[in-house]
């Protein structure tokens, strides 16, 4: 680790990235460095362009301008903006999860994790042809894939749900299935889009622990979008704040917490009073009427 001030070299550098949809600039001239082996948080109000940034990183959108370089330890510098989405995951090993959960709902959790190892298994089975005849090489590869899947299930506390259809699990577990599935791709950079959304405080505490452990034990680099400040402030080494597609601040959690611009745009005052939700929502009222 050669660079000054103890920050490791960047694994990913986003350079002057812009993404325009017609007249709207969802991302406007954004530059960002994601240091290797650290957790970088991306925060900002709704519509700030966080998910758009992820979509550009993972090849789902083609940026209007600018570049995204990944410093791959084996393959050198890869220009992510030129790769199609599946190549971003396969070659560059940049894997993402989704804000709205996207598990393979009717398949079991274990199957979800095996699908994530599709490319490895497909190569081992010679595009499934050798697998047709139950060749030994393929069977060994399948054993390995199963062992890897079981290993992650075990570490994420999902092992007893291995044979349950993913779609029938509670929300918090489905989020974990999605993370486990992404881990099965063996990522260099794991991009998590609001992993704590919909989790209760205990669950988000567990998530914090998991994220820290992944970085410590697996030497993974994490990039995460999150609204839950208990997650962001506790696990991130480095935070980037977006507003209207621009970076308005960057720095350590302490710096961000005290940045006046960030407080104005996003964090708000310390004792922000959350307005009470209406006592009875329309949906609840209807449900009550029906029950009567």
């Amino acid at each position: 680790m050669s660079s000054a001030a103890g920050t490791p070299p960047a694994l990913l550098s986003v350079e002057r990235l812009s993404m325009r949809f017609g007249g709207l600039a969802a991302i406007d001239d954004l530059s960002l460095k994601v240091p290797a082996g650290r957790i970088t948080g991306v925060i900002g109000p709704n519509g700030a362009g966080k998910t758009t940034l992820f979509n550009c990183l993972t090849g789902f959108y083609r940026p209007s301008a600018g570049g995204i370089r990944l410093h791959h330890p084996q393959l050198g510098v890869l220009r992510l903006e030129t790769l199609p989405s599946h190549e971003v995951a396969r070659r560059a090993r940049v894997v993402r999860t989704f804000q709205n959960i996207r598990t393979f709902a009717r398949m079991t959790v274990l199957e979800n994790l095996l699908v994530a190892q599709h490319n490895v298994l497909q190569r081992a089975s010679f595009f499934s042809l050798a697998g047709l005849f139950g060749r030994k090489a393929y069977r060994r590869a399948e054993e390995d894939a199963l062992a890897r899947a079981a290993g992650w299930l075990d570490r994420l506390g999902l092992i007893e749900h291995a044979d349950t259809p993913a779609g029938s699990l509670p929300y918090g577990l489905q989020r974990r299935v999605e993370i486990a599935r992404a881990l099965c791709v063996d990522p260099l950079l794991l991009c998590l889009d609001e992993p704590a959304a919909g989790l209760n405080p205990r669950e988000s505490g567990e998530l914090n622990e998991l994220l820290l452990r992944l970085v410590a034990e697996e030497r993974l680099t994490l990039l995460l979008i999150e609204h839950d400040m208990s997650v962001v402030m506790n696990v991130c080494d480095h935070i980037c704040v977006l507003n209207y597609g621009r970076r308005i601040a960057e720095g350590t959690p302490t710096e961000i917490r005290n940045d006046p611009q960030v407080i104005a745009a996003y964090l708000g005052e310390e004792d922000e009073s959350v307005p009470e939700p209406p006592a009875k929502t329309w949906a609840r009222q209807r449900a009550d009427e029906e029950a009567a």
């Binding site: 993402r96 989704f98 009717r106 398949m107 199957e111 699908v115 291995a162 349950t164 599935r181 992404a182």
Partner: protein, 425 residues
């Protein structure tokens, strides 16, 4: 929410009132011919019977539906919380499948001189084969293909042309025709890669029609509306099924008396074997990476891409395999009929094949068998009812969809379980 007695009564009374209103002119009054003059006659007792029947019928219908709904909600509330419950009746379809297999093997021995039974069974098997082919595309890969008859036609015409023009035999033509069908599968898959659901259905439907219209108009190669006739029948590995003559025949070789039933039985076993091979192939593929990728793509294409899977390849492979299986069924069809024309490959055919897959329960292999039995046998049984046949057919379809909206066998079996490997320790 179950209706109360009064509510049900009110509902039934409303239905009865409408029946009364309609019934007065339609049943209550009738004209009779009396010495050349028409006279209006009343039939009030008939009308009363009709109205009472409507009242009772409506009441019973409501009652039945309510019962069904309460039972379903109760079942749902039972099942939450006990996630790891074994699949209900998971073993029953398995046993049934083996039983069906046994029956299909023994059927020709029992009915060896009943041509009608064997012919019908062969037709069922053709549809089973077509259903299994489409099941890969629709049931596993989740691509709504409404033009499967096109691949069936390609297979049939490929064999017909190869055999009548170039003198190819059934067994040589089979793989080549399958390959040609695969090419057509890719040809429809490639331009429609970005489409899903309804849009894909429209494109495939159009493709099916294009193939049929081309066959209808390409008079010099496909015979146009006259089709192709005198397609050679498959021989028993070189021994023709023919009355004794100069060349050695099947009957002469085995020292049997010639009977036209030999060929019928042979054809039955050929399609049975092709169908079993198809089944083995699809069941195996489902457990391989490509099969799981098909299912994953059905569940969420975007997630597949985010995991590094090339959705293009996965989609095209599903289309190609579905087309190959449809093509093989087509080859067999042409060889069995000896005559084909575009008439046999209309949209109606595609719709029936799709109905078989949906009715059977998407992705379920044995469900396809059950649905083929239902869809082929129902019209056959209904022959005695002449014009009511289609009514019967439609009613049965509606009933099945009410009772089992996910198809006859909607249960999905996981391709592998962790339980069997790790929990045993």
């Amino acid at each position: 929410m179950p209706a109360t007695l009064a509510e049900r009564g009110r509902d039934a009374a409303a239905a009865a009132a409408i029946a009364l209103l309609l019934g007065i002119p339609m049943i209550g009054l009738t004209t009779v011919d009396q010495g050349g003059a028409l006279r209006v006659q009343t039939r009030w007792p008939w009308l009363a019977v009709f109205v009472i029947a409507v009242f009772c019928g409506r009441w019973l219908l409501r009652y039945g539906l309510d019962r069904l709904r309460t039972r379903r909600t109760r079942a749902r509330s039972d099942s939450t919380g006990t996630a790891a419950r074994p699949a209900p009746g998971g073993r029953l379809p398995g046993a049934l499948a083996w039983l069906t297999f046994g029956i299909s093997l023994a059927l020709p021995l029992v009915f060896s001189d009943n041509r009608y039974v064997i012919d019908t069974a062969t037709t069922v098997l053709i549809y089973v084969m077509l259903g299994w082919g489409l099941n890969v595309v629709v049931g596993l890969a989740g691509l709504l293909d409404m033009g499967h008859a096109a691949f069936y036609a390609v297979g049939a015409y490929a064999y017909a042309l190869l055999s009548t023009r170039f003198g190819w035999g059934f067994w040589e033509a089979l793989p080549v025709a399958a390959l040609i069908a695969a090419v057509f599968g890719l040809a429809v898959g490639w331009p429609s890669l970005r489409l899903r659901g309804d849009y894909l259905a429209i494109v495939t439907l159009g493709f099916g029609e294009i193939i049929r219209v081309v066959l209808l108009n390409g008079a010099e190669f496909s015979g146009g509306p006259n089709g192709i006739s005198q397609i050679p029948r498959p021989s028993f590995f070189g021994l023709p099924f023919a009355p004794p003559g100069e060349a050695p025949t099947f009957a002469a070789f085995f020292g049997l008396e010639f009977s036209p039933m030999h060929r019928i039985l042979f054809l039955y076993y050929v399609i049975l074997m092709l169908a079993l091979l198809t089944n083995a192939l699809v069941l195996r593929l489902r457990r391989l990476p490509i099969g799981r990728a098909w299912e994953a793509m059905r569940e969420d294409e975007i997630a597949c891409r985010a995991l590094g899977m090339n959705v293009t390849h996965i989609k095209l492979s599903a289309f190609a395999l579905g087309a190959v299986l449809g093509g093989v069924a087509g080859v067999f069809f042409a060889a069995r009929q000896g005559f084909i024309s575009p008439e046999s490959f209309t949209f109606n055919e595609s719709a029936i094949i799709l109905a078989i897959v949906v009715l059977g329960g998407m992705g379920s292999q044995f469900g396809v068998v059950l649905a083929s039995l239902v869809l082929v046998l129902l019209p056959e049984i209904g022959r005695d009812f002449a014009e009511y046949r289609m009514l019967l057919f439609g009613a049965a379809m509606i009933l099945i969809m009410i009772w089992r909206p996910g198809g006859i066998l909607a249960q999905r079996e996981p391709t592998l379980r962790l339980a069997a490997k790790d929990r045993r320790v």
